[in-house]
């Protein structure tokens, strides 16, 4: 896992969890507060309605008391009580009276019962007029009364003659549940007769309300919603087993739904917004933590490609840990550079000792390697060869005759002309040099120059007989420089040629032995090429030159990178 991801997750996740948790808590609290407020308002509302109903009932009762004082009705009751023989007619007489009273008072139902509660007569309003009703006991004070397919809400008063109670007068109005000012349910003996609560199923409501005490406020769950139910009217409580119960039934959820929806939306959007902020903050903070580190890592990666160890500026970064890291890296890098320098020095000393060993064997060739290297570099510069290839030419030229170590002094230092066998031995030196350097780690790149600096352009060279550009350019350039130096050097058996003569020979064999481009480049150098004056101590000279040149040149790759860092 990336450090940035890790930092982000560790900063974001707890934050998000905390945020989500607190939002959830607040939301739940708010929702329950809304619910509670609604419950209170629903309850208040219901209580008010219940009170209103009670008031209207007490008004009804008052009106009814007046009706109960009707002397004609009392006379009718008297008639009923006395006329045993024509009871039916007497009942009709009373029914007729009742219908008159009932019509005047605007009730739907009027009935009288005797002193002991036995039903005497009653009329019910129909569509065309009043009809006699089936005689059955009417609730004693108030309540619901079902007869002839209708449910009536009944209020009863006593008819008294003096102190004597002669009967009961009951008035009723057709009960329409829709007329109740709130969603309600009418139960008869525990089963739902009518329901006006939207969305409530009859049988589920029945089952749910079964648990409610008949005269207590009650909260029930029907079909996954919470309902609040208050008793509005309860005749079951008054003893009748199959009595009616009118309860309000109102969904709290439905009432709370709009407010809850708003709350949910608010919390959802606030939650999402703060999550987005948390993500942004997390990303920013993790970035700000990781960025300095990432910079360091990026520079290290780059240095891995270039091989140059970076030097980090001190004290620029605000983060102390990063500063410490870069400081310690700088220390480590300094040590590594030190080691590299030592390595380079060792390398230089090695090459120097090789060259000096070579030079020590043959005083006539003293300084040859160094000169060839110088000439080759000059040619290379003239040909615009730079960088890595130029380096190959420089060092390769220094080492080009290393193979001569493997050739016996007798042959190498022979004053006379060489025999064919000796010539063949001499010709072995590129291959021997190659073999020697093959074993040295880091010298592989110089092998082509060492091996192929005797190949000719026309393919007549050795050891492989490569043609034209089959021979690498490095080797072709070194060949020109080598030939020039060989021609201009003194040999035991001859004096060195003059510069012009050597040039003319180079021109002559350009295209056959030599690469034309290399020769032409050499020609442009002109007077730059100057054979050092004879008589100098060649060995001392060459060693000094070599060491100086190497030190200067090998140091140069480091120096520019230091300045870059």
């Amino acid at each position: 896992m990336r450090f940035a991801t890790r930092a982000f997750l560790w900063s974001f996740l707890p934050f998000a969890a905390l945020l989500a948790g607190s939002f959830w808590t607040v939301r739940t609290a708010a929702l329950s507060a809304v619910r509670e407020a609604l419950r209170t308002s629903v309850r208040d509302n219901q209580v008010t309605l219940v009170r209103e109903r009670e008031q209207s009932e007490s008004r009804n009762t008052r009106i009814l008391r007046v009706a109960a004082e009707n002397p004609a009705l009392k006379a009718g009751l008297q008639l009923l009580a006395t006329e045993r023989s024509a009871r039916e007619t007497a009942r009709r007489t009373v029914e007729d009276q009742l219908s008159e009273i009932c019509d005047t008072m605007g009730f739907d139902f009027l009935a009288v019962s005797g002193a002991s509660g036995e039903p005497l007569a009653g009329v019910i309003r129909g569509q065309e007029g009043f009809a006699a009703m089936d005689l059955k006991p009417v609730p004693p004070a108030k309540g619901f009364f079902a007869t002839q397919g209708h449910i009536f809400q009944v209020t009863s008063v006593t008819i008294a003659q003096g102190d004597e109670r002669v009967g009961t007068l009951a008035v009723g109005e057709r009960f329409d549940l829709a007329g109740v000012a709130m969603p309600a349910v009418l139960l008869h003996g525990g089963s739902v007769v009518a329901i006006t609560t939207p969305g409530a199923n009859k049988s589920e409501t029945e089952a749910a309300l079964h648990k409610c005490a008949p005269s207590a406020e009650c909260e029930v769950r029907i079909g996954g919603e919470t309902y609040m139910s208050m008793p509005l009217e309860n005749s079951a409580a008054q003893g009748a087993e199959d009595g009616f119960t009118l309860r309000s039934l109102r969904s709290l959820d439905a009432a709370a739904a709009p407010a809850q929806l708003v709350l949910r939306r608010v919390f959802l959007s606030a939650g999402l917004a703060s999550l987005a902020v948390a993500i942004a903050l997390g990303a920013f903070s993790s970035r700000s933590i990781v960025q300095p580190l990432a910079d360091v890592v990026a520079r290290l990666r780059e240095s891995g490609k270039t091989g140059v160890l970076p030097v980090f500026a001190k004290g620029k970064r605000g983060v102390r840990e990063i500063s410490e890291l870069t400081d310690s890296f700088n220390h480590a890098a300094a040590s590594i550079r030190e080691g590299q320098d030592q390595l380079v020095r060792a390398y230089v000393e090695f090459v120097s000792s090789l060259a000096s060993a070579l030079d020590a064997r043959d005083p006539y060739t003293a300084g040859h390697s160094l000169r060839v290297s110088e000439y080759s570099c000059a040619i290379a510069r003239a040909m615009n060869v730079e960088g890595q290839e130029h380096e190959l030419i420089r060092v390769g030229a220094l080492l080009h005759d290393i193979g001569k170590i493997g050739i016996s002094d007798a042959v190498l230092q022979k004053q006379e002309r060489l025999t064919e066998e000796e010539e063949a031995l001499i010709r072995q030196h590129p291959v021997i040099g190659k073999k020697i350097l093959e074993c040295v780690h880091g010298f592989e790149a110089y092998l082509p120059v060492v091996e192929l600096h005797h190949e000719n352009w026309d393919g007549s060279g050795y050891p492989r007989g490569l043609k034209g550009e089959e021979t690498p350019r490095t080797a072709r350039i070194v060949k020109v420089a080598d030939a020039y130096d060989a021609m201009t050097s003194d040999r035991p058996y001859r004096r060195g040629m003059r510069h012009e003569q050597a040039i003319s020979i180079l021109e002559k064999y350009a295209g056959t032995q030599f690469d034309v481009a290399a020769v032409q480049a050499f020609l442009t150098l002109g007077d730059i090429i100057q054979r050092p004056a004879a008589g100098d101590d060649p060995v001392h000279n060459s060693l000094q030159h070599l060491a100086a040149a190497l030190r200067m040149e090998t140091a140069s790759p480091v120096a520019p990178e230091e300045s870059r860092a």
């Binding site: 002397p71 004609a72 006379a75 009718g76 008639l79 006395t82 006329e83 024509a86 007619t89 007497a90 009942r91 009709r92 007489t93 029914e95 007729d96 009276q97 219908s99 008159e100 019509d103 009329v123 129909g126 569509q127 065309e128 007029g129 009043f130 009809a131 006699a132 009703m133 089936d134 002839q148």
Partner: protein, 245 residues
């Protein structure tokens, strides 16, 4: 008017021919306004279970006709004795929770029967000075008979039905009639003499007019009943007797 004069002359001639010693008193009672507020009483229905009893709609009787027909005209005079005409027994039925007719005119000494035609009980009674009685409860098909020996106005009620009301006008002599719907009345065969013609209306009150009846000529006595609408305290300026010619 000429037509009525002609007809009265004709009637007078006939009367003269049949009964030389008597002539008629006739006249017109004018009522221009509705006097009596009336409630529509639903019919006393047969309260059978399950069959509703239809409410009776208001009868579309002309209100002024009704008022005129509820005026009673009779004579007052010392010299008037019992008529030799046979007394027809009067009847006041109870039908549809009403007295029918609700106004009966009888001479003193006559009787009225109160048969019940309703399917329910009635209890007819009166507390009037002229005659107070209580007939008790009785049902359909039964009747009661009451004699009214004294002249006066007898208001009749029912104990069971406070809305029921009827009036029996007991006149001191046989010369008493209800005015017809058009406002005309005739008191036939009145012996010559000086009399007071009395017009009575339940709410309008009593109006009197003195006339002299001669054997040769019919008399006329017209009345204007200036009744204010009930409940309105306004007094009609034309209240009072309106004597014809």
């Amino acid at each position: 008017m000429s037509r009525s004069i002609l007809s009265s002359i004709a009637v007078g001639l006939i009367a003269l021919a049949s009964h030389a010693s008597a002539s008629d008193v006739r006249g017109i009672v004018t009522i221009e306004r509705k006097l009596t507020p009336r409630n529509v009483t639903p019919a006393a229905g047969l309260y059978q279970r399950g069959s509703p009893v239809a409410l009776e709609s208001d009868n579309h009787e002309n209100a002024l006709d009704y008022e005129r027909s509820h005026v009673v005209v009779y004579l007052e005079g010392d010299r008037l004795g019992a008529s030799n005409a046979p007394v027809v027994p009067a009847k006041m039925e109870q039908q549809n929770r009403r007295f029918s007719p609700d106004l009966v005119v009888i001479p003193a000494g006559a009787s009225v029967s109160f048969p019940n035609f309703d399917p329910i009980f009635h209890n007819v009674f009166s507390l009037s000075k002229a005659k107070s009685f209580d007939l008790g409860n009785y049902s359909k098909g039964q009747t009661r008979m009451v004699a009214f020996p004294k002249a006066g106005i007898v208001a009749v009620y029912c104990h069971l039905h406070p809305n029921m009301t009827g009036t029996i006008v007991v006149t001191p002599n046989p010369w008493g009639v209800r005015v017809d719907a058009k406002g005309q009345y005739t008191l036939a065969d009145v012996p010559p003499g000086k009399y007071t013609v009395v017009a009575w209306h339940k709410t309008g009150g009593t109006f009197r007019k003195n006339i002299e009846v001669t054997s040769s000529k019919d008399s006329e006595a017209d009345f204007f009943v200036p009744l204010a609408e009930l409940g309105v305290g306004e007094k009609d300026n034309h209240a009072g007797l309106h004597t014809g010619h």
